[in-house]
Symmetry: C2
Subunit: 640 residues, 2 copies
């Protein structure tokens, strides 16, 4: 690691998103998503799966009170991943083992939203939840409603499958965000009490476990940064060092021995610093890698950073969908093998792309890297945006690149692929994850150190930082131009990422040096820089190691991946072909191109003959907008 | 149905297969497959899964003896599909609930083999098994070792999941075959005693159940034909009439109610005579449809026959792989929706193609139909032949059209796809099913009625029947010529199927009338007819409703589907393309053709540019021979 390249994202309070494209979405989070999700967490949305999340906190608070009063509290089994009305007692915990985390993610999103735009009514809702959370905490600091309600003796006995440390991670993230937003300490104190318990419980000569679902690592570093308490950083590092060691803790805690094959799912098959390939559950993976990058930077651990670089390359070079989706298989919601990126079986969980943005930002804070910033852009403008409907009330958990509604209905292998966004999931990780990312978008565009301001993403925004303030006026997705008004406080360097998609077709209004995908400007007085990146529709090849896409191309314009939908192009999208040198026309965010439709031929087998085809005008829409017009066919790749 | 078109297959004793291609395989059955499988049934094959089949009969015989002696016999659970050393007591039943059927299928294959070529040692083995089977039969006639060993009180209480009526069906088929082969009645008597119990148990005003896994229907008709006992036919018809009626018997027997959706798997979602689409478990389906055709013909039931025709068309027009495989999904080993025929996820169970031949033969016995005979040929020469290795000791259960060994190893969705044939399966339905089909091949080529001899398949053979004897000398797969020496006993019609694959390119040495795919010759004196069907390599299109095959073709020559293997063409078969008008060269059963290899390109995403390609000579081998040279890539379809 080269400390001179270290930088730090801008604190949210110092960024104001001003660009209409993103403002609209942040406004939707504030006015629709958060209120809707608040109702969902309280089980007050008709027709949506029940969350039980707030109900669990109420039950846990009641248990804490009873325990304080010395009452005898019943014990229920804590032995399943999900507890429903049928398989558990009325007074027992309900929902998924990680249900608490939905409340925390909501609070985190609310904190960012309050930072962006203070709203007393929203804060009142948040404070009510925080009171409830604090009331549910055991005197020991422990805070996970599953075990508090069901079985206090079971705490920390099944780290592999149950999500106590995962829920802690989300609690800590929410707590830091809320503290930064409001200066209030109630939730931060609760998180620290739980973190203290964790630091006291895990370590050398203590319990040598680590989380089954990672996130505590990055959360402990956040808490360390917020409080300065070194034990939190040490515990994060301990989790990373212990993970994947033999004998496996996940075996030990259940008196088993295994070859660790099954722990690929948890990225616990071998120590993180030895890992070469991104494997297993994709969300867990990128959360782990984010924590690794945090610890590597905070402790100067070059070996750990090298592993982060290898794992990032593994994703970027061989496991990343064109849409920035990751996780090619529904089995384990996991990465598949290199170049196995099926379109119609894709998993591409929204949360995984959100997590990829977490990992990318941390890597960019260690060193600028245009390929990483490109991948973050890909994930943000395509899979992340696609995750939420335009109404803010429907969400995709899975983001396929090809959808045939009949297959989703009739083929069990594709049942995870929903042709339309869903209301709310019992396992509702994605909607609040989206909300917290979009609400904190200001933290994802720019990083700075004492000499340099790096612009990785061109969100229209006002940024107050050192060594310069910036006002960015962005028409990045409209026409590829960005205007930057820079107000240096001293001589400094401005580094602007040159998006890979424009190739050599870019222009800056001021002299600069270009190096590895960034243009560097030395500035000492206020100046305006105009950047122009050629924004034209392009046909994009996928590696021919990806078997599904041979003979096909995708259409992109700038960072946006486009797709064909049945609503515009009729049924049987697979019969369409785009011309090799198409005449594109751009109308707003719609692209049309000339191509052909092959005549349908229902005869199962016949001697080869060229099929008749008729010229057609193909209509492409941005991928993130698909599925907003009812159930229909969709495809990103089209034959050429 | 038009009774004038009815015909009957030739009894095996009246056919002698003389053609080297098929003789070699029948010889392999006799000298290798049956001895090997006999050892496997006795758990004496090193490294193969245990069968437990013979062991179960021994245990059942011991129980029968104890019961006769008035001893108290222990009860074990009969509540699982499979019983292994771990989950069941040592003295309890072991293996799959349908394990008995492997013994019956072996006996049936042995009976056919004895008919083809008597061998005292083989008969002695068969007789030993028959003695054991008879000793295991309860005095009531009941004969299924799971319930005899584990729980006599559980008999016929779970028709949906457990396979008593299925095992009965295989017993009856074996019994009829052995009776025909040897004239001996021990096994036939045992089958009839079980059939009598079944006829006494099921019917109007009795138990209104039907088999979960069909085959009893066709077996009861066989037993009726062999014994003349009408009750057997009536019971078969009862099973067909009762199946799919509401309330569902499968619900009733477990005190449930359902909408029947789940009974698609069993083809019991609605009455067979109302069914339009081939659905559910493919083997079960074609066994059911075979029984429907049998009952329709035997009882003159036009409605039932119309259903058979619809279901056959559903398969032939929309659900049949080019290889004659059926069952596109591993989930439920089932048919998928129309035109959903993925190559790499295919199931295409060997047994399903064997069963398709059963169904086809029965339909041809009702009326000649060139499309049905074509499909039977497709299944026989491709999927069925592929099911067994050239050594007779390794078998495919699943017959994919595209294999990437890395995917079979790493992708759980393709784990059912084995890149090499396996030794013996615990669930060993396919190997003995193959053996019984190939040993009785003489029953699948020709059918006859009092006026007409239909030649549906051109196996080199000597056939003694009325109204004519035939000697067929066949070079059908070598050069497309067939010589038929016909010896009519009176004026008669010879009908020769014209294979669809030769189009109009055929020639007969005698005058004939061509109608719907058959050439009709009126003969009254001995004569020799030479048939020549143009046997050339062809590129074959798959319907463009099959999404996976757009832009690809398959190579066929006559009935044989060809494939590319890595052993001949190197890795990355997906980078190969065949020329649109290739120069084919045929060398024995190898075909070469000119084509291209695209340069591999590992860059995940880049602006579209044509990729470099180099001319290559592609080597195709018959599909049925794939996987005989170790683990490697294989594909039937190649880009054009």
């Amino acid at each position: 690691m080269d400390n001179a390249l270290f930088s730090r994202h801008i604190a949210l309070a110092d960024v104001k998103i001003t660009d209409a494209f993103w403002q609209k979405r942040q406004h939707l989070i504030e006015t629709t998503v958060l209120p809707y999700q608040y109702e969902a967490l309280h089980d007050r949305v008709d027709g949506a799966d029940k969350s039980y999340a707030v109900e669990n906190f109420r039950k846990a608070a009641a248990v804490v009170k009873q325990l304080k009063n010395g009452a005898t509290v019943p014990v229920y089994p804590a032995d399943k991943w999900v507890y429903d009305e049928q398989n558990s007692a009325p007074e027992a915990f309900k929902g998924w083992v990680f249900q608490d985390s939905d409340v925390y993610k909501w609070l985190e999103a609310a904190a960012y939203t309050l930072t962006n735009h203070f709203d007393a009514a929203l804060k009142a809702k948040a404070d009510a939840l925080i009171d409830l959370i604090c009331a549910a905490q055991l005197p020991s600091g422990y805070l996970d409603t599953l075990y508090i309600i069901n079985n206090r003796d079971g705490i920390f006995t099944n780290l592999r499958d149950f999500h106590e440390l995962y829920c802690f991670g989300h609690l800590a993230e929410a707590a830091v965000a809320y503290h930064r937003a409001t200066g209030e300490t109630a939730l931060l104190d609760a998180a620290c009490r739980f973190a203290d318990l964790i630091a006291d419980t895990f370590g050398e000569n203590k319990k040598k476990g680590y989380p089954g679902h990672e996130i505590a690592e990055l959360a402990l570093v956040k808490l360390y940064e917020e409080t300065g308490k070194r034990a939190y950083l040490d515990t994060a590092a301990f989790f990373l060092d212990e993970r994947g060691k033999r004998p496996y803790y996940f075996d030990t805690e259940r008196n088993e021995t295994s070859d660790g094959e099954r722990y690929h799912y948890h990225q616990a098959h071998k120590p993180p610093r030895e890992q070469e390939e991104a494997v297993g559950h994709a969300v867990r993976a990128v959360y782990l890698y984010s924590g690794m990058a945090d610890v590597a930077k905070a402790t100067g651990d070059d070996g750990l950073y090298a592993a982060c670089q290898r794992l990032m390359r593994s994703i970027l070079d061989k496991k990343l969908y064109i849409t920035g989706g990751i996780g090619a298989t529904a089995d384990g919601e996991a990465f598949s093998f290199d170049y196995d990126l099926p379109n119609d079986l894709a998993y591409c969980e929204t949360c995984a792309s959100v997590g990829l943005l977490f990992f990318a930002r941390r890597m960019l804070e260690i060193a600028p890297d245009a390929a990483i910033a490109d991948a973050a852009e890909r994930a943000l403008y395509n899979t992340v945006l696609a995750g939420m409907a335009e109404d803010g009330r429907h969400f995709f958990y899975v983001n396929p690149l090809e959808v045939l509604p009949e297959a989703s209905e009739k083929d069990s292998r594709k049942r995870h692929v929903k042709p339309v966004r869903q209301k709310w999931f019992g396992c509702a990780c994605c909607p609040p994850n989206l909300a917290r990312l979009l609400a904190s978008l200001g933290e994802y565009g720019i990083t700075a150190n004492e000499n340099t301001v790096y612009v990785h993403q061109y969100f229209g925004s006002e940024v107050h930082t050192e060594p310069a303030d910036l006002r960015i006026t962005s028409a990045y997705t409209e026409n590829g131009t960005v205007h930057l008004a820079v107000r240096p406080q001293r001589e400094m360097t401005l580094a602007l990422r040159i998006p890979t998609w424009c190739g050599e077709n870019y222009r800056f209004s001021a002299p600069c040096t270009v190096k590895e995908g960034y243009a560097y400007f030395t500035l000492s007085t206020p100046c305006d820089i105009q950047a122009a990146f050629a924004l034209v529709p392009r046909l994009v090849n996928c590696s021919n190691r990806v078997r599904e896409n041979i003979g096909k191309v995708a259409v992109m314009r700038g960072p946006l991946v486009y797709c064909l939908e049945e609503a515009d192009n009729g049924k049987d999208l697979h019969l369409l072909r785009v011309s090799k040198e198409p005449q594109f026309a751009v109308n707003g965010d719609i692209i049309t191109a000339d191509g052909f439709r092959e005549a349908p031929d229902g005869t199962l087998y016949a001697d080869y003959a060229k099929r008749a085809k008729t010229p057609v005008r193909l209509t492409f829409i941005p991928y993130y907008r698909w599925g907003n017009r009812g159930e229909n066919e969709m495809t990103v790749y089209v034959r050429i």
